[in-house]
C-alpha cells in the first residue's frame, strides 16, 4: 500500500503528477523516490508524490489526474542505469520488470487494471531505471545514480507545454 507522503487533496484536481515509486531502504529500489525528491526541489509547478508501488494506491493516486509520469526501478536484465520508457496508451507494461508481490499488485498490474477499467489517465508515461543492487541499505549504485539526471531531463521534456496532450491525441487517433 502506498507510502505516499504527500497525499493529493481530493478536492484539488491536479493536472500534472509525478509519482516516484520505491523503497529507499532497498538500495537501487529507491531510485524512483530519489528522482521524485530532486524533481520536487526544482519544479514547483508539478505535483510530486512518493509511493511504495502498491497497485490499489496507484490507481487512486492517478484517477483524478490528466498527465502522469511514474518513475520506478526495474529488474529487466539490462545494463544497470539503463532507462526504459513506456507510454501506457501505446503498449502494455511488462509485469516481470516491476515485480512486487503476488498478493499486492504492482505498477504493471495497476496500469493494466486501469486499462481494463477504463480509468487510465489521459496520458501515462512510465520510466523504469534498471537497478543493480536491491539488498537492504541506503544509497544508489553509481551507474543507477548517474541515470537520475537523465530521467529528470526527459521528464522536463514530457511536460513541455502541450507535448503530453498532443502526443496522447495522436495515440488516440
Amino acid at each position: 500500500m502506498s507510502a505516499n507522503r504527500q497525499p493529493l487533496p481530493p478536492e484539488t484536481p491536479t493536472r500534472r503528477l509525478v509519482i516516484g515509486v520505491g523503497n529507499g531502504y532497498r538500495r537501487d529500489d529507491g531510485v524512483g523516490v530519489k528522482a521524485a525528491r530532486r524533481l520536487r526541489e526544482s519544479r514547483a509547478d508539478l505535483t510530486v508524490v512518493e509511493a511504495s508501488g502498491e497497485g490499489g494506491a496507484l490507481l487512486s493516486l492517478w484517477r483524478p489526474v490528466d498527465q502522469v509520469v511514474l518513475i520506478d526501478a526495474v529488474r529487466a536484465g539490462s545494463q544497470p542505469g539503463k532507462v526504459h520508457r513506456f507510454d501506457a496508451h501505446r503498449q502494455s507494461i511488462p509485469s516481470d520488470f516491476f515485480s512486487y508481490s503476488t498478493h499486492q499488485f504492482s505498477v504493471a498490474e495497476a496500469v493494466e487494471m486501469a486499462r481494463a477499467l477504463g480509468t487510465l489517465p489521459r496520458r501515462l508515461i512510465v520510466y523504469g531505471i534498471e537497478g543493480k543492487c536491491f539488498a537492504g541499505g541506503t544509497g544508489l549504485s553509481p551507474e543507477v545514480d548517474a541515470s537520475v539526471q537523465n530521467v529528470l531531463e526527459r521528464i522536463a521534456g514530457e511536460f513541455q507545454s502541450g507535448v503530453m496532450i498532443r502526443e496522447t491525441e495522436e495515440a488516440h487517433a
Binding site: 490507481l59 503476488t102 498490474e109
Partner: protein, 429 residues
C-alpha cells in the same frame, strides 16, 4: 498399476512461493503435498538480543498484508509480561486498526484473488474487463481499510505508530469522524459484493474440521480471548504450546501444526464464524442470512461468503468504535520491563497468530516464538485437497489443477508469513 502426477510448480494469487504435488495411483489419491519453498526468514532468531520495545515493529515486517496481527501479538505479549493495563480508548483504537486490516485484506482476497476462480478468469485484470463495477467497488472498499490503517498506523503497509503500551500518537475525534461517511458507504458496498458472491456455484466439500479460534466474553474476537475449538479445546492463550504442537516436514520450510493428540486445525474466517456467530454484529448476522450462510459453515469454498460477512462486521464495528471514541489522556501507557514470559494471540484475517516472548529485567528478548495462521492451516489445506481430488480424479489435468488451486486459495494462504508457498504436480500414469 497406473500412476498420475499433477504438479503445479508455482501457485499464483497466493502470497509467497509454494507448489503442489499430487500422486494418483490406479485412480486413488495416494499423496498430496503442499510444498512450501519460501526461504526461512529467521525472525525468531533475530529478535533475540533486541529490546522488548522493538518486537512489534520488527515482527510487523513479517507481512505486508497483515502487519497489524504482528504489531498486536507482540505488544500484547510484552504487556502481559510487564503487567501493563491498557485503557479503553487505546484498546478501542487497537480494535479499530485491526478492522482496517480485516477490510483491506479480506476484500483484496475476495474480489481480486478468489472471485476470478469462481467466475472463470485467470486473474482480476481479465475479470475487470467484463465486471468493472465489482472491481471498482472492491478497490474503493479496500482503500477505506487502507485509510483506517494510515490514520492510526501512520501508513498502510507496515504501520509505524503502534508501540508496546499503545500508540505513539492518537487521533483526534474529528480525524476519526472524517472516516464515517466513507465507512457507511463501505458497509453498503460490502453487502452488494456479498450478494454477488451469494450467486456463485460452490463445490461440495464439508470435511470434519477442528476449528480453532479465539473466544471473547462479549466481542467477535480480534485482539483477545481464550483459545477454543469445536472439539473441546478451551484454554488461555498461555496454554497454546500445550494444545497446538509443531512438527517439521521435509516438503515445507514452514513448520506444520497439529492439535495435540488429534490432528489438523483450521483457523480463520470459517472457524470464527462457526464458534463466534453469536458475537457478530447485527447487520453482519443479517448479511449471513441473506447470502444463505448458516453457522457452522463447513464448506471451505464458501469462505468467500464468510469473508464478506466479516467485512460487514468490520465496518459496523469500526463505526461503533468511532462513535464511542474518547481521546485518551496520553497515547500510551509507559511500560517498565521485568523478567518473564508472555503470550499474544490475535485474530489475523487468516486466523490466529501466536507470539511468545521471554525477556529479562532489562527488557532484552531472550526467546521468541511466532506461529502464523497459514502455518497452522497447511495440514488442513492438504487434507481438503485429499478429500476434494478423490471424487474428481477423472477430471483432465488442467481442470483438476484449476480446481485444486481454487481449493488452496480458500485459505487465502500467506506463504511469506508461514515460511518460515505454490507449484502443482499431479503424478498419474
Amino acid at each position: 498399476m497406473s500412476t498420475r502426477t499433477i504438479k503445479v510448480d508455482y501457485l499464483a494469487r497466493v502470497e509467497g512461493e509454494g507448489a503442489l504435488y499430487v500422486r494418483i495411483e490406479d485412480g486413488k489419491v495416494e499423496d498430496v503435498r503442499l510444498k512450501i519453498f519460501e526461504p526461512p526468514r529467521f525472525f525468531e532468531a533475530l529478535l533475540r538480543g533486541r529490546d522488548f520495545h522493538e518486537a512489534p515493529d520488527i515482527t510487523a515486517r513479517i507481512c505486508g498484508i497483515c502487519p497489524v496481527a504482528y504489531l498486536m501479538g507482540a505488544a500484547h505479549a510484552m504487556e502481559m509480561i510487564c503487567g501493563t493495563r491498557i485503557p479503553k480508548p487505546i484498546r478501542d483504537l487497537r480494535r479499530l486498526i485491526y478492522c482496517g486490516e480485516w477490510i483491506e485484506s479480506h476484500i483484496l482476497h475476495m474480489a481480486m484473488l478468489h472471485l476470478p476462480d469462481f467466475l472463470g478468469y485467470p486473474d482480476a485484470i481479465a475479470m475487470a474487463k467484463d465486471h468493472p463495477e465489482i472491481v471498482k467497488r472492491a478497490l474503493r472498499i479496500k482503500k477505506i481499510g487502507n485509510d483506517i490503517m494510515a490514520l492510526l498506523g501512520g501508513r498502510e503497509i507496515h504501520p509505524i505508530n503502534v508501540r508496546v503500551g499503545g500508540f505513539y500518537k492518537t487521533p483526534s475525534k474529528a480525524e476519526l469522524r472524517k472516516l464515517e461517511s466513507e465507512l457507511k458507504w463501505g458497509l453498503d458496498a460490502t453487502l452488494e459484493t456479498a450478494r454477488v458472491a451469494a450467486g456463485l456455484r460452490f463445490q461440495d466439500l464439508e470435511p470434519d474440521y477442528e476449528f480453532v479460534c479465539l473466544r471473547h466474553p462479549d466481542e467477535y474476537p480480534l485482539n483477545e480471548g481464550r483459545l477454543i475449538s469445536n472439539k473441546g479445546m478451551d484454554v488461555p492463550i498461555s496454554e497454546y504450546d500445550n494444545v497446538l504442537i509443531e512438527e517439521h516436514v521435509p516438503h515445507s520450510t514452514a513448520l506444520h501444526s497439529l492439535v495435540k493428540g488429534r490432528g489438523p486445525a483450521q483457523v480463520g474466517p470459517l472457524a470464527r464464524f462457526a464458534l463466534n456467530f453469536d458475537r457478530l454484529t447485527p447487520i453482519a448476522r443479517q448479511a449471513a442470512a441473506e447470502v444463505g450462510l448458516k453457522s457452522p459453515c463447513l464448506n471451505p469454498f464458501k469462505s468467500i461468503l464468510v469473508r464478506a460477512v466479516e467485512v460487514v462486521f468490520a465496518f459496523e464495528e469500526a463505526l461503533r468504535l468511532i462513535g464511542e471514541y474518547e481521546e485518551p489522556d496520553r497515547p500510551f501507557v509507559p511500560v517498565k520491563p521485568r523478567a518473564g514470559t508472555g503470550y499474544g494471540c490475535t485474530e489475523a484475517p487468516r486466523g490466529i497468530c501466536y507470539h511468545r516472548y521471554t525477556i529479562d529485567d532489562a527488557g532484552i528478548i531472550k526467546d521468541a516464538k511466532i506461529v502464523s495462521p497459514t502455518a497452522v492451516n497447511q495440514k488442513s489445506i492438504e487434507r481438503d485437497l485429499f478429500y476434494f481430488i478423490a471424487p474428481n480424479v477423472d477430471l483432465p489435468d488442467d481442470k483438476l489443477q484449476w480446481e485444486c488451486e481454487q481449493a488452496i486459495r480458500n485459505y487465502d494462504p500467506c506463504i511469506s508469513c508461514s515460511a518460515h508457498f505454490l507449484k502443482l504436480k499431479v503424478d498419474r500414469n
